[in-house]
Subunit: 308 residues, 2 copies
Amino acid sequence: MSDIIKDKLALVAVDWGTSNLRVWLLDAPGNVLGIRESEKGMGTLAQSEFEPALLDLIDGDLPFDRVTPVMCCGMVGSRQGWKEAGYMTVPCEAPGGAKATRAEVQDQRLALWIVPGVKQIGPDDVMRGEETQVAGFLAQNPDFDGVVCLPGTHTKWARISAKEIVSFQTFMTGELFALLSKQSVLRHSVNTAEFDGDVFRDALSDAMSRPQSIASKLFGLRAAHLVSDQSLSHGKSALSGYLIGMELAGARPYWLGMDIALIGAPALCDIYKDGLAAQGCFANTYSASDMTLAGLIAAFSDVRETLS
Amino acid sequence: MSDIIKDKLALVAVDWGTSNLRVWLLDAPGNVLGIRESEKGMGTLAQSEFEPALLDLIDGDLPFDRVTPVMCCGMVGSRQGWKEAGYMTVPCEAPGGAKATRAEVQDQRLALWIVPGVKQIGPDDVMRGEETQVAGFLAQNPDFDGVVCLPGTHTKWARISAKEIVSFQTFMTGELFALLSKQSVLRHSVNTAEFDGDVFRDALSDAMSRPQSIASKLFGLRAAHLVSDQSLSHGKSALSGYLIGMELAGARPYWLGMDIALIGAPALCDIYKDGLAAQGCFANTYSASDMTLAGLIAAFSDVRETLS
C-alpha cells in the first residue's frame, strides 16, 4: 500500500493548525492517495519539532528518487510556528504559492512552503489558514461576488469581490461558546449533545434585537436551570443562539443583501445556515476540509515550476 | 488572646462562598474580635466536611459554658452546600434571620443558621450572598430608594424600593473577564496589572453604542497586539471597558435616572463608578465585606430570642 503511494506521490498538502495537523498525500492529477492526522498542532511544538512531527506521519510514504513538495497553511506559519510566513494585507487576492515562504528542512526528500496569512489594518484583524480556504473556494467559484463566512473557533466574515479579499472581520463566537459551555458556571446547565432548533432560533432572534443583554441572558440560562428546571437541551441551544445571534447582529453589514458562502464543519455550517435563513438569507455551504485541500493544490500550482 | 475572644464571643458571622470562607468573631455589641479565612469554599467540600472546615478556623475560640450562635450566608446554603436554605422570591425584603434555615451540628457548642438566597421568576434569576450585602446596606440606609449594583464574578443589579428588592438582574461580566483574560487567545494580549483609564472609557463608550460588535472587538484586541504592537495595558483596559460597557448598556433600565449604590471590592467599585460617571451618573461605593458583616449582624438580631 505504502509503495503505491510512494510511486505516485506528487504533493503533500498540510493543514497545520494550533491543535491539529492534517496531511493529504496526492498524486500528480490531485487525487487523494491517503490522509494522515495527528494532534501535534502548532501549540504543542517547539520550532525544532515541526519536521519530526511531519515525518512521523509521512516518512514511509516519501520516495527516495525525487524531491517531494510540501505545501502548508495555518498556524505553522505564525511567529511561534515552523517558520514565520508573514501576512498579506487586504485588499488582496487570497495568497497562493507565489507569496509562500520556503522553510529549510533537514530531510533532503522534502521541499516545503508555507502560505502567508492575511491581515487588515484599521480595524486590525488577522487570519491564518482561512485564506487558503478562501483560495480553494475561489479556485472553484472564480466569479463569486459576495461574502464568505468561515464559522469556527474564531469565525471570519470576508467580503469578496473581483477575486480579492476586500475586508474581513473576526468574531470570537466559537471560543466563547467553548469557554462558557465547558469552563463557566453554565457548564452544569448546557451539558448535552441534544439541540433544539426552535429554542436556538428564538434565542438568536432575541440576541439580534437586544445584543446588549447577552451577559445577562447567559446567566439567565443557569438561573432558569436552578429555579425552573430548564432542560440542558434548552440551555445549550439558547447559548448557541445568543452567541451566534450577537455575531449576526455585529456582522450584518457583511451579510445583508449579499450572496453568502459558508465554509466550515458541516454541522456548524448548518447551524449558521439555519440562523441566516431565519433572517431571510440563503447561504450555500462548503466543507472547510475540501476548500483547504483545493487551496493548497492551487498554491502548489504557483510554485511547481520552481521545483524543477 | 484566644481566651479574651472566648470570654467575649457572642456571634460568629460567616460568609461562605464557592471558593472562600470568611469568619468574623464578634462580641455582644457587634465589635470584631477577630477575622479568620480559609480557601475551603463550598465548591471544595462534601456535605459532611462543612462543620470540620468551620471548626478548623474557630475551635479554639469557642467557649464551653454556653452555646455560640453562628449566622451564615452564601453558597453554603445551596443544594451542594451544608444545608439547602432555599430562596425568597422577589418582590421581598432582603431575607434576614427570620427566614434562615437551622442546620444540625455535631458540636454542641454551636447553633447555626443559614440565610436563604433570593430568586426571581420570569426572567429567572438567583442570588446567594448578595442578599445579605443588600440587607446590611439597608440596615445602614433604611430610606434608600434606587438601585444597588454588586460588581463581581456575577454582577447583580437590584432595584430597591420601600425596603424591598423589587427585581434584579445578573450579568456574567466578571466571569467573562476572567475566562477571556486567563484562558482565551486574548491571554497573551492582556497579561498585565496596568490599567489605562482613557482606554477603558473609550472602549466602554464604544461597547455601549455598538454592543453587537463585542465578539469582534474582543478578537480585535488580539489582532491589534499582533499587527500593530498594541500594548498589554491597552488590551486589558479595553477588555474591561468592552465587557462593562456591554453590561451598562444592558442594565440601563436599572441605573438610568436612579440613585446608585455600588457594593463590592473597592478597586472594582472604582472601575464601575468611573464607567457610570462617564454616563453622567454618580454612585456611592460601599465595601462588600462591611455590608456582608452588617447583614449577618442584622440577621442574627432576628433570631437572638430563639437562642435562650
